[in-house]
Symmetry: C2
Subunit: 313 residues, 2 copies
């Protein structure tokens, strides 16, 4: 299968490498100049636990995707949330009538964005438990294992989605065909919608957040707001299960000592956050349905305030 | 007049010194051992702009106020909010049937606390624009000028309050008899209820807060919550005026470069904050009246969370 990875950061590098190893034709697309240069010069290095592989994969910046590029069968979207729309504007030349898009972004609201560029029946959504890191430009560090859940948005997309499942299986990516991927996306958003913003604003790691006496009340209130909005979108979130999933991360033996990605982006690296696609998306959807989501609103405002104070780019 | 200053920190030292200079019999009460020791050894030093005076004022820790102390005519309450109740439990021996209490604390909810110890007709409330600082134990730095607004809680207290106005006038404290001191207290609480918590959580000074694009929305929302609760207590807050009062502090030529007292207490000195008597009091009063105050609630929780994370004492 001819596959483009739109957003070839750490996770894009992992999935691209594993699909390439399984014999697919993989093209990387990314905006980071040093990353592009390194991969063009030395190939993409994947440092797995048991082996290091180097793959000579083609890589383009989105503006280089002009007429003349042939259509791909599948685009796997792995940009930052706020870069999704610009990416798809730029890479239109490789998207044909039969091209499918598999969206693996965290957060909410991406369905609306992708629908501008691709027919609903060609869209697949998913979530993953795989992790990935970058040791530097062109060099991915790939430890641990994971799985990928996916589902076509419209019934017409099921046949192709099952083909994707098949090639992901051959690549060892442990795909699972989901019958309710929207539920999984909302559940994951509950974890990001509590830990990301709160650890960022309180300047603490996950275990420290979990140790606070009001941690439970805060996550209950925020997840409560997510649940009411999810319900308006036809998804019945199990709030107790979502709370349990958040609290399972407090353990210092697993994720407790980590700082959530938003903390790393904003507090460490002064980069703009994805808050508009998590709590901000719930707030915005809530306004559409006339549902009050004051904790999501306030948290979004605080994170944006912090972005301004730190002059985040 | 025989006057006890209950809480003889910076502001208590200023008012105590100025009333002493005007010929009143002033007793200081405070819990800070080094402060007590310094004043007992060297007197209370007041470093004004144009002169430095040293006053040999008696000072006691609250536990030393036992039977045998004679009643005072007036207690001026100037503790931290969370220390008010314990202070009045301890100093009961100097409070007779005719003793008045003048409460100059910032924040809300002190009426309920003082009513446990003193009849309503003996309570005066007030706010002040004077400032004061401490250079160290027993040494107050007293620059600038100010005024003190005051009003008796019950009509029966008016005659005595006018006497207090008189001696404050003689002391140069610029007293103003107010016909709506509760309004002034709520208006001051609006300033503290926005700048204190938000600068503390966002880790910024007042001008930096004011520079954020969402500053206006945040203060509007919080003051809106204050106004609905104030209305339930019979006070019609002018929200536009309160917003204006907050925004007037942004100017770097006046208060803009300052960090609010809550920031200094918590972020700099790891001390517990008065949030329960500002946003927390609005939240609690709101619950009593079945009024939703989610921004006050969330901000109170975040500040308490930060207190726990910093192990504030």
């Amino acid at each position: 299968m001819k596959i483009a990875i739109a957003g070839a950061g750490a996770m894009g590098s992992r999935i691209g490498l594993m699909l390439h190893q399984a014999g697919n034709e993989v093209v990387l697309i990314d905006r980071w100049p040093e990353h592009i240069q390194a991969i063009r010069e030395k190939g993409l290095i994947g440092e797995f636990e048991d082996q290091t592989i180097t793959a000579k994969l083609p890589i383009y910046s989105p503006e280089e995707i002009v007429e003349g590029h042939t259509n791909v069968d599948l685009v796997i979207a792995l940009t930052k949330s706020m870069q999704l729309e610009a990416m798809f504007k730029d890479i239109n030349a490789i998207i044909g009538k039969d091209t499918f898009v598999f969206c693996l972004l965290n957060g909410l609201g991406h369905e609306e964005t992708l629908s501008k560029f691709v027919a609903k029946q060609n869209i697949i959504f998913g979530t993953t438990t795989w992790t990935a890191g970058l040791a530097g430009p062109g060099h991915a560090k790939l430890v641990g294992t994971g799985s990928i859940e996916m589902e076509n948005l419209a019934p017409e997309g099921k046949d192709f989605t099952l083909k994707v499942i098949d090639i992901f299986k051959q690549a060892g990516l442990n795909p699972i065909y989901s019958d309710n991927v929207r539920y999984s996306i909302w559940k994951k958003a509950c974890i990001n919608g509590t830990l990301n913003g709160l650890c960022t604003i309180l300047d603490c790691n996950i275990a420290e957040f979990g140790s606070m006496s009001m941690a439970r009340t805060l996550i209950e209130t925020i997840i409560g707001e997510f649940a009411v909005v999810a319900k308006a979108e036809g998804i019945e979130l199990d709030q107790a299960q979502a709370i349990e999933a958040v609290e399972a991360t407090y353990d210092v033996k697993t994720q407790g000592l980590h700082y959530p990605s938003m903390y790393q982006d904003l507090i460490r690296n002064h980069r703009k956050t994805e808050i508009d696609y998590i709590n901000g998306a719930v707030w915005q959807k809530g306004q559409k349905y006339q549902i009050q989501t004051p904790y999501c609103a306030f948290l979004t405002q605080l994170v944006h305030g912090k972005e301004e104070l730190l002059n985040a780019k």
